[in-house]
Symmetry: C2
Amino acid sequence: MQITSRFTIAIHVLVAIEYFKDMDRINSDFLAGSTGVNPVIIRTVISRLRSAGLLHTQRGSGGAELARPLSEITFYDIYQAVDSVDAQEGLFHFHERPNPACPVGGHIHQALDDKLALVQTAMEEQMKKITLQDVAADVAQMALQKKEA
Amino acid sequence: MQITSRFTIAIHVLVAIEYFKDMDRINSDFLAGSTGVNPVIIRTVISRLRSAGLLHTQRGSGGAELARPLSEITFYDIYQAVDSVDAQEGLFHFHERPNPACPVGGHIHQALDDKLALVQTAMEEQMKKITLQDVAADVAQMALQKKEA
DNA sequence: CCTAGTTGTAATATACAATATTACAACTAT
DNA sequence: ATAGTTGTAATATTGTATATTACAACTAGG
């Protein structure tokens, strides 16, 4: 089981919106071409990012812009935005019918919850330390090196 | 997207095997009853745990025993054992066709990989710090408290 | 040796979620 | 008005998790 590609798609989209902000025609078709993902998927990912307040969009004329600088958007912000359903239920899917009459089955959930939370928190804390600026800087450097070669 | 319930099932099963080790008839049907999961699923989970060297089983007569003490089996050991396919591919599912001709699409994978690895490593390092002994101790204490009440 | 009970595993079914696709109303700039 | 775009619903397709059935391989005990 893996974290949805919506997460890496969202990062890609946000970095691209900033990278190409001086060009016009940064619409969902362009982003679909850059990511290799269906334009409707792009629009739904953007829709979730907008709900989370990470960017603004405009109907009709097209185009999107970030709500705040790349350095102030963390992986955690994006994860919460595009994977919010599971984010509420937690990272781990617990088996749903442990037997309450069994000494183990009756307490395993309670005994595990705090430990699973430790793991999830460790992941989320690391996500909070990484920003889109870190990604954009590497992309820009790599693109430049390629140009020079 | 969540980490498979096989993970919590495996923890439940291992703790139960140790908890009930002095009783007989700890077969897959009994464990299915304790977890509320199909016995064949129990056997496949156990099969993976056996492949990972975490327990030994016996055909025909039934029964399983841990290969080493609870205190020497970490969440990470179990995660690797029962989620090994995804463990090889990483925690994150990358979108598969970013456009190599695009400055962003052509470098996003390389620019992201090390950062995604940081997140995955943070999760795994926390998993390595938690053992089945921690879980078993809490289960035993809770079962005792319930008995006294 | 034979029988009952069990494990290991394949094959299949069912359920659910992710992604792709089609379609179209709402909207904006020109 | 028109062309192009977003937002979103509806549906299809695909992939994966879990459930279920079936049975060969095996073990212990009579």
